[in-house]
Subunit: 330 residues, 2 copies
């Protein structure tokens, strides 16, 4: 696969964002977020996402002048309204505010309504961890997945993030859609033809399948468990933010105005930093030290993306040429 | 299956708890919790759990005089030490305090270390919902499950709860271990010989199996996703509480001194109650209204247990006679 130096990718994204109408500050932030996502091995929310994002801006689906605004301060929690502004910028502002609240109250929460697609969920977990905080955040989505026992799409895949800071910046980062495979990864498998490593859902005949191209219904992780988790994440985000549920989002047609929750816990207020670092390291060492299934390797969440980040910093960011060409032509 | 009137079960449990040394108040609380768990269709953490709990008390593994104590107040979050006291009483006190903190700060958190098995996780989600709060809580456990790609047990199954209040008391309640089947449910299937409805893990040959009796390694929901989620829940609980990780718990042999997190969000501070009730009801109606897989029925999390509760209030609580006889003989 062709590679592009990270800074060149940032710079190219910045150019396009500037042309599209973003001011220099916003363009700089967004360019880094999208390039970082590709660098960390999540091109579905980096380079491959970028042309669609620009299309959403030029079509007016995302209003680049709009920004998340605080609606009401409720102590350790605040409600914000995303004004349908760019989801990435709204998300960064929301997690930033949750971190500020955590500096004051140990736990801080921002519930954001009426925002747009935040791209890679893990971005905001890393943001919290970079600030020395545990981060927990999630978003609802439009209907993407049937409930357990159902045939029709009724649930969002509602990506959920948990992050735990590590001093070298290789944070523990869980970033998971509640469907076994995210929309982005399903797209990657469709294009490559490579089968999923485990069934991703049901085909048109109702049989479990590893073929992304024949995926009719996505499978929630753990069957009824993921089905229930997706519903609960949706309801909590909508209630706390005063925003839309998945049911209400889907009624509007194309996904717009989603609801999100950002939680930060300021570890510097909680306990002894050296002891925390040791506990985390000991748990990670223990996790990866056991006997492995033949041909497999146990990793902790975030380990692979941290490795890809280091590789890409050395060797450049791998790109699917068709997407890079699209960006160059923008 | 034989049934016992709910109040008779409460009264019998209260008698045994009194004999075992609990004071009248604690015996009344515990008797209701265990009987409620059986009544709601979770006998593995109700009647079937009760004799083992009494054995833990008489063996001194649980100190019935010890109680969770606040260690440090950190604004909207507090750290508590469970003193290895009875897990159910510690959990109730912790969620109660999280609710009080939420009344003041909208979000309230208690991180509890050094506590004992809390029996049915959902109990504390219902407690929050009865108080008009969204409840989120989880516990770590000793090593019960291999990580994705591993053969040795390295992870807890770390039950996670999310609850959303409904005005009729039939709250939305997700109560899930991160293993596809909890220890309690695996035991039930072992005794009955009934196969799991989906694979619960791997047998000794490394093949996925629905046979509880041949289950060698439990499967985390969503493979690498549940594996990562279990690790993160463990680390967050241990760091916030200053307590033990799963690695550290397992080092001590039999499970003792687990770490837990309790979060409550006071919805009465957040928004318009009537509108919230409508949003939740609309989402639940939508969820269960689609086309179903033949022979299946979509339900929302908590719906079946709410139904079992109503059935048991009318017809008595179903019991496996061997366990009821054990209690009568205590």
């Amino acid at each position: 696969m062709n590679t592009i130096p990270y800074e060149q990718m940032v710079s190219e994204f910045r150019r396009v964002l500037g042309t599209t109408g973003f001011n220099a500050d916003d363009a700089a932030i967004l360019a880094r977020v999208f390039a970082s996502n590709s660098r960390d091995g999540v091109p579905s929310h980096g380079l491959n996402f970028f042309p669609g994002f620009i299309a959403d801006v030029t079509s007016g689906r995302v209003d680049i002048k709009a920004r998340a605004q605080p609606v009401v301060a409720l102590g350790a929690m605040e409600q914000w309204d995303g004004q349908r502004g760019p989801g990435v910028l709204n998300a960064i502002a929301s997690m930033e505010r949750a971190i500020e609240l955590a500096r004051q109250h140990t736990v801080g929460a921002v519930a954001l309504r009426n925002t747009s697609h935040w791209s890679r969920a893990g971005t905001y977990g890393l943001q919290a961890a970079d600030a020395g905080c545990i981060g927990i955040c999630w978003t609802n989505t439009t209907k993407l997945m049937p409930a357990y026992g159902g045939l029709d799409k009724r649930l969002g895949n509602n990506p959920l993030v948990l992050s735990i800071p590590r001093p070298d910046g290789d944070h523990v980062l869980l970033d998971m859609a509640i469907s076994q495979f995210s929309g982005g990864r399903t797209g990657t498998h469709k294009r490559s033809g490579e089968p999923f490593p485990v069934p991703g859902g049901y085909d048109a005949d109702g049989a479990l399948t590893t073929d992304a191209a024949n995926l009719e219904r996505a499978l929630p992780i753990g069957h009824w468990k993921g089905s229930g988790l997706a519903l609960c994440l949706d309801l909590v985000a909508a209630l706390l933010s005063g925003g839309k549920t998945t049911t209400q989002i889907a009624r509007g047609g194309k996904e717009a105005g989603v609801s999100q929750v950002y939680l930060a816990f300021d570890l510097s207020r909680v306990g002894d930093s050296a002891q925390m670092i040791d506990s985390v390291q000991e748990a990670l060492n223990d996790l990866v030290s056991g006997e492995m299934v033949v041909g497999q390797q146990v990793t902790w969440p975030g380990q692979r993306s941290a490795g890809r980040r280091r590789d890409a910093e050395r060797d450049g960011v791998p790109v699917e040429q068709q997407f890079w060409d699209q960006v160059l032509a923008l």
